[in-house]
Structure formats: structure tokens, C-alpha cells
Amino acid sequence: MPLQNSLPKLALALIALVTLGCARRDSGQQVVTLWHQMRPEDRAVLESRVEAFEAEHPGVDVRPLYKETEELRSGLESAVLVGHGPDLVYGPSDPLGVYQAIGALRDLSPYFEAAEQEAFDPVALIRLPAHKDPTKSQLVFVGDRFGNHLALIYNRKFVPKPPETTVELLEIAKQNTVDEDGDGRFERYGLAWNYTEPFFLVPFLTGHGGWLFKEPRPEGAAEVPTLDTPEIIAGLRYVASLKKAQVLPRSADYEAAAALFLAGKAAMLIDGDWSWQKYLSEPGLDAAIAVLPMVSETGKPLAPMVAPKGYSMSVAVSDARAPLVAEVVKFLTNEETQRAFLKQSILPSRLALRSDPAVVDDPTMQVSLAQVERGRLMPTATEQRAVWDAMRPHYQALMAGEMTPEAAAAAMQRDAVSKIATLTSRVEPDATAGLVKLLGGVLLAGLVYVNRRTLVDFARDWRRNRFAYILVLPALAVIFLTVIFPLAYNVLLSFSNMSLQNFRDWQIVGLHNYVSLLTGGESSRFWNVFGKTLLWTVINVSLHVAIGVLLAITLNGPVRGKSLYRILLIIPWAVPAYITALTWRGMFDDQFGAVNHLLASWGIGTINWLTQEGPAFAACIIANVWLGFPFMMMIALGGLQGIPKELYEAAAIDRVSRWNQFWHITLPMLKPVLLPAITLGAVWTFNNLNVVWLVSNGGEPSDKTHILVSYVYKAVFNLYQYGYGAALSMVIFAMLLTFSVLFLGRTKATEAVA
């Protein structure tokens, strides 16, 4: 095999290439990193404005980079902890409270004079109490636009005039909910929106006079949720009545609602400003935008949440660089930049531009402006996220008809109160803190002691097995050098009180996280999810192995075209899982999904896959089995090659049945090759966040479709409980370790064949 001989040379060449490939353009330029959350459509405008800035400021290199919410936050966290991170972040204003709470933001006021500030809509400039000194206020955010507000999009073919009141809304919706062929399934619905996210519920609540938090905010205390007021219940009742009147599709997430409207199967749609262009420019669709109607009973408008979007400067920026970075902010929020964005129908934050012909003459912009004026400003309070989390599952349950408005309101309030309490609680070191520190020391010492004996053995063994040690050393070094710090950090955090309240000044508080995890209020939920995770893992891995081995054996037989089969069967593994998982979600759509379509055509009847607990879980499993079997098949195919043909010949002579040949020859001979794949497959499946998250859209329905990691992810990151999350991952780690040691011990997988 000449390949083996050329490997070292090839490796050297590659290393050289990789090293060269990342040589930075070191031109002495000042680099300003900007992490933003702009729509793909707007990024081109941003890039061109950045280029314009660079042209004016030679020697400055501004690097805009799209980042997701979580990534953006982790960048800021890093800026706080090690001074490394983005210089600027751009996004909606709602996470500002969190950023400020961890001390991630710099004050922009020294760079924006009062006169300059007056040119902006006042709500576009956000000041928050300083992180270190709450009596002082800082300018932490300069908005360049308004957005995120919902409005009504309607199909003019069906709705000549948009409704002005909720009574009209219901009326028009009813007229447009039609079952033309009388098969009991509607071809068109009156109204649709994404009813998995409570953000879309807010207009109905405000229209009935409700709001999420008590106003004004109590002095020096946390926000108080008001989710069980009569006004909120009235709002929920109205939404439920729409559902009951059957003018809404049975289930709809964001993409499904959009698809319905685009296909002319929903007469009206509630969606945000980011999406309007899509509907207005769709060929063959006569769509228009209108402000959301008034509530007939209260006379109040359905007021959506509105948020300015804009720039904040992170603490990664040094004093010396701050003026330059502020210059970037100024440039990107100046009139010229905002004018450039007008083409995208974006509502500017500079008041002067509000009278620009591009705004005045554009009906969409006018609707947008009117809707913003009716809207409610999105809170920047850290509590907001806890409230979304509290609302989401019960809102979903309400829309699925599983909860009454009153019960949903009560449950939302209860959960919100408890989540806010968690969010704002400060954990102080308890008696176990000393114990943990002491035990940690003892454990370390014990480890050294145990290893001392091993070291002696090792020294003795070195002479005999030097070759073996040299062989394993590089791999071990690479593996452990890269993971040792993250692991150790995680262990430390799991005993700490790191949270939003104690982000920088966290300390070891003892076993608190573990205790509350295993015995606290959420512990029964924890064990429930744990059980589900086991089920998830066992079913998935068994099916992966069973299907994989079955296909490998089939492919290994005398089949024509086996190489073609082999390639086609590997495809689920080759296509990025992100898109195929979402495709599976689409295929499970209750009404328009291919799965139900097939089931119906076979006369089996349809299943509400994604809105019921059991079927939703099954859907996740099916998608994951699909994603995972090709890999197992590949491994089994490889393993089959090691089985000597003579074994089968002898078996055939002895008239051993095919089944027994499989059971007594194939399977035992596959064992050494399959075992690592099964062990690690189980570990990976146990920790597979993506598939569950994507197929169930983050745990739908009502947070019932969770496995441990997705549960941790949601429970922890939404409430910023880093210590708790670390403890949970330690528990997961311990479970998997126990499993692996037992499983490997049972199967003698670590034995060397002697």
C-alpha cells in the first residue's frame, strides 16, 4: 500500500499548509469586531456602510459577523471574564438587562453629546443603571431602527378591507375558513400566526388591557409578573375563542404559518416587520399590511411589542480604543446609514428621517410607523426571558385545547414567579462549601497517592512496553490537553454560585446545585426527563444497530448494484443534519406533512405528530434513527470483512440455519468492531441536543419533548444558572460514565486479545 508510505509526507505538507492558511494579515490595522443579528437581506447594506467607514478611516478594519443570540452572549461573557470578545454587538434591545447585569457593556455617553442624542427617537437610546454603581446611569445602547413589531398581513384576494376591530377580525376569519370539497378538512383558514411563541400572543393581551409585569416596577426589587390578571385571562379567552371557532389551523409554527399564507391557504397572517417584504414581493400573491385591529370590548388596540435595534460597546474595548469604536457606532447610526436602510423598509431611529419621502410615501412604512406608535416597548429587564419561558408551554397547551384560559393564566403566573425567584436568588456558601473544598483537596491528594503506585508500576513497565507507550502518547496528549481545562472549569463551576447575580464574583458554595437538582422542586421533573432520555437512547441505539447490521448483511450478499445501494444509503449521514431535521419536522406536519399524507393514503388515518407528547417524541426518534443508521451500517460493513469465509462454509456443511449462522458467527465476530460504536453511539445519542431541539422546536408541545441535555439547555441558559447547569452536566457525565464502565466491563471491550 503506497498510501501508508506517503502518509507522513502528506501529513507534513498539510501541517505546513494549515499553518500558512491561517497566517493573519498583519498589516498593523486597527480591527474592530462587530457581532450583529441582522437579517440576511440587510447584511449587504451593513457591509457597504462598513466599507464606506473604512474608506474614511484608513487603517481601520471593521469586521461584521452574524452571530446567534447565544453566541453573542457567550462572546460578551468572555469579554467580561478574560477581556476577549466582540468590540460591538448589534441586536434588539431586550437582552441589554442581562448584558448590563454581568457588566459586559461600556458607557457610550462620553461619545454622544446631548445635542447629538436629541436627533434620535428618545426610546432608541437606552440608559441603564451602571453595573458597579447603580445610582449612576449609563448609555448602553444606541438604536438605529425600530422593529420586531407584528402587524396584520392580509391577502387582498380574500380580504378586500382589513378588519378594524376584533369582532370584524373574527367575522372575516370565519368567512374565509372554507372546506370546499366537504371532506372535513379546511382548504383555507381565516387567520394564522405562529402559536408556539408567546411573543405572538402579546398583542392579544395588551389589547385586553393586560401587561406582563406590574407597573411601575417596584423600587429596588425584581419585576413582578402579572400573568393571571382578569385582563390577561380575557386576552387568552379571545385567542382560545378564535381557536374554538376553527378559523385557525390546528397547529402552526412560524414556518408553517408562513407557508399557509404564501400558498393562499390563510387569508390573514400576523407576522413581524422582518418578514413583510417576503409576502409583499411574492409573485401571484396580492398581500397588504395593516395595523392590528382594536379590541371591540375595550377599545384598545392590539399592541405588539416593539424594540429598537442598535449598537452596544463591550468591555473588551480598552479605553484607548473606545473613541474609535464609538466612531464606528456613530457612523453606523448616522443619517446616511439609516437612509441606506430605508430601502429595506426599515423604520429609522433618527427623527429627521421620519419625514423623508421614502417613509412618507411608502404605505408599508406608514403602517409600520403607526404600528410602532401603538406598540409597547419590549422590556430590557432580565426577568423578561423567565416570563417567556413561563408562558410558552401553557400558551401551547391553551392553543392545543388542553388548558382553559384561567388555568393557563394561573400556571403562567406560578411558573413566572418561581423562575424569577430562581433568577434573582443569590446563593451564599453553606456548610458544605468547606467540605467540598476539603474533599477536593483530599481527593486530589488521594489521586496523587493512587497514581504514585501506578507510577511505580509504570516505571517498571516502561522498559517492557516502551513501544506501546510511545504509540499511545500523542493521541492521549491531544485528547487531554484540549479537554482538561474545560472539564476542570466545569467541575469547579458545578460547586459554585455562578449566575446572573454572581457572574464575575462567583465562589464555591458547596453542594447546593447538586442538592437542588436531585431533591429540589424540579427534581421529579428531572427524573421524568431522565427516564425519557433512557428510553430515547435505548430505542435509538437499538434501531441504529439493528437497521445498520441488517442493511450491511444484506449489502454483503450477492446483490446486483450493491455499490450504488451503498452510496444511496449513506446519504442521510452526508447531508447536514440541521436541514434534514427541519425537513423531518415539515414532514410530520399534521395537515400538510408527507407522513400523514402517506398514512392517510394507506387508510391508516392521520396522527397529530407534533402537538401531542407521545407522537412528538416518536417523531424525534424516527428522525434520529434516519440520521444515525447509515453510520452503523458503514461500521458493520467494515466489520463483516474480518469474518473468515471458512466459518460460513463449515456452518453450511453442518446445515446450520442462516439465522443461527448470523447469531453464532456473524454477531460474535462483529462484536469487537461494533462495541465502540455502540458505546459511543449511546453516549452521543444521550447527549444529542440538535435533533430533539430541531424536530420538536425546542421541546414542543409544552416542554414535554425533552431529553436531559435539551432540558439542561433550556433550564439553564434561559435562566443564566451556570453553576446549576455545570452540576447537571456533571450528573449526566456520571451517568454516562457508570453506563460505559458497566457496559464495557460486561462486554470485555477493553481487553486486549491475548
Partner: protein, 282 residues
């Protein structure tokens, strides 16, 4: 192997084989065809309410945009570089350490084997913050070396175990014969054992390649410069909360899977080569 065994295949069995394979091919391709449909749809529509394999208004606009408006080729190049480096390093390290784990009974062998597995047991999302801190501190931001190092470290545990499993199926007497024929332990390994572990090497290579090819989380921490983006990062940049460019995303996803399929085509010859057959009789 039943390929040319004396067992004669009844017609029904042949039929059964094809039926089974065709059924699974259909299941495999179905969602992928859906992705194809998304990539051909104009506008950014993830879902439709129609059942049609090829949208009536199908267009190649997304594909065109990928190559003309997006630095797709640049990302492809970066990804190929990183993935190849990971594959070569991963296969090299895994093949030698797996051999030691399979053949030698040295002190701490079991502990080492289990402990390299433990690194896979932490939920990755939990390690992101410390990972980023470490990358920042070590100055590995925007370096492929850092990225390759992390990828190799994540791919190795499986690869080492897999290689060990494959070596376990190769009789010791082959190396012994080679030793007596004058090979050093290293030569006996590279000239005799390694070629026989070809299926294992293929699996290890494909796995290492894929783990780098499709990885997003770590890449997003390390690479902060669009010029250095790998494909998954590029793909991700078409995403945005509630306004993802699905057409581009789907088109890129399909294009991204082509190199994997090609690699598999090239390597699958070795995967099913059956070299060890008949070498020895236990």
C-alpha cells in the same frame, strides 16, 4: 461473507434483499429530495402546503447565488483544508494508539481507554464558555491549527476505539511472522497489520472527516473572520431568527454533502475489500 459461498441463493431471498434495500433507499432519499425541493423553490420557503417533488416554479437561483454572491468556494476550500488535516492527523494518531491498546498489556491501559471515552460524555453545549475562554487565552482565535487540534481531539476517542476493535480481529501471528521475517515492531505494524485494518482506517477517516466537515459549535468559537469560515459556518450565516435564507441553505447543504459522498465512493472499495479473508484459520 456470503458472496461466493456454496450456499445457493433462493430467488425469494434475492428478491427480499432488493425489496429491503429499495425500501431503505426510498426512506433515505425522501427527506433529501425535500431539501432539493427547498433549494429549487424561489423565495425563502422552508415549507409548502403542496406535495410536489419539483416545485412548478423551480429555479436554480439559489445555486447561482451561492457561487456568485456568496464566498461559497472559499468556504469549501477552508473546509477541505481543515477536514483533510483532521482526517490525516486523526487517522495517524488513532491507528497507532489503537494498535497499542489492542496488542500490548501495559500498565494503565484500561484506565486510559475508559478515560479517553469520558471526554465524550460532557454535553458539548456546557463546555462552550470555558472552551471559548481557553481559545481566547491561548490566542487560537482565527487559527486553523487551533481548530484542527480541537477537531482531532473530539474525533480521536471514537477512532482509537474503532481501530482497536479492528486490530482485535487481526491474528497476532501475522505480526509475529513479520517479526521473524526481520521486521521491527514498527515495520510489522505498518507493513502487515495496517494494510489489513483498511476497513477500520476507512471508517476512521470518514468519521474524522465528517466530524470536521459538519462541525459548527467549535468553529463558531474559533473562527471569527468570514474569510476563514468553514462550510458549516457559511451555512449558518444564511440563518437568522425567523428570516433564514432557506433556498441558499438547502442548496448549500446539498452541495456540502457531495464531497462526503465522493469520499465515501472512493473509500468504500477498501471498506469492503475483505483482505483478512483466508489469511489464517483459527
Amino acid at each position: 461473507m456470503t458472496s461466493d459461498t456454496p450456499q445457493r441463493e433462493p430467488f425469494l431471498l434475492t428478491l427480499g434483499r432488493h425489496a429491503l434495500l429499495l425500501a431503505f433507499v426510498a426512506i433515505s432519499l425522501w427527506p433529501v429530495l425535500d431539501v432539493l425541493a427547498i433549494s429549487l423553490r424561489p423565495g425563502n420557503r422552508l415549507r409548502t402546503t403542496e406535495f410536489e417533488l419539483f416545485p412548478r416554479d423551480a429555479t436554480l437561483a439559489s445555486y447561482r447565488a451561492l457561487f456568485t454572491e456568496q464566498p461559497f468556494l472559499r468556504w469549501l476550500g477552508n473546509s477541505l483544508l481543515v477536514s483533510t488535516a483532521v482526517t490525516v492527523t486523526g487517522v495517524a494518531l488513532a491507528s497507532i494508539s489503537g494498535y497499542a491498546f489492542s496488542r500490548f498489556k501495559f500498565v494503565g491501559r484500561q484506565t486510559m481507554m475508559v478515560s479517553i471515552l469520558t471526554t465524550q460524555m460532557f454535553p458539548a453545549t456546557m463546555l462552550l464558555l470555558p472552551l471559548y475562554l481557553m481559545i481566547a487565552k491561548l490566542g487560537l482565535v482565527n487559527t486553523f491549527v487551533g481548530l484542527v487540534l480541537f477537531y482531532v481531539a473530539t474525533a480521536l476517542p471514537f477512532c482509537v476505539w474503532q481501530m482497536k476493535g479492528f486490530y482485535d480481529t487481526i491474528p497476532h501471528s501475522l505480526e509475529e511472522a513479520a517479526r521473524i521475517d526481520g521486521c521491527s515492531p514498527w515495520n510489522a505494524f505498518t507493513k502487515v497489520v495496517l494494510p489489513l485494518a483498511a476497513p477500520g482506517l476507512v471508517i476512521t477517516a470518514l468519521f474524522s472527516f465528517m466530524s470536521a466537515w459538519s462541525e459548527y459549535l467549535i468553529a463558531a468559537q474559533v473562527l471569527q473572520d468570514r474569510e476563514l469560515f468553514t462550510l458549516p459556518l457559511g451555512l449558518k450565516s444564511f440563518q437568522s431568527s425567523m428570516s433564514t435564507q432557506w433556498g441558499l441553505y438547502a442548496a448549500a447543504s446539498l452541495l456540502v454533502s457531495i464531497p462526503v459522498v465522493i469520499l465515501f465512493m472512493l473509500l468504500s472499495r477498501y471498506l469492503v475489500s475483505g483482505l483478512t479473508l483466508g489469511s489464517v484459520k483459527e
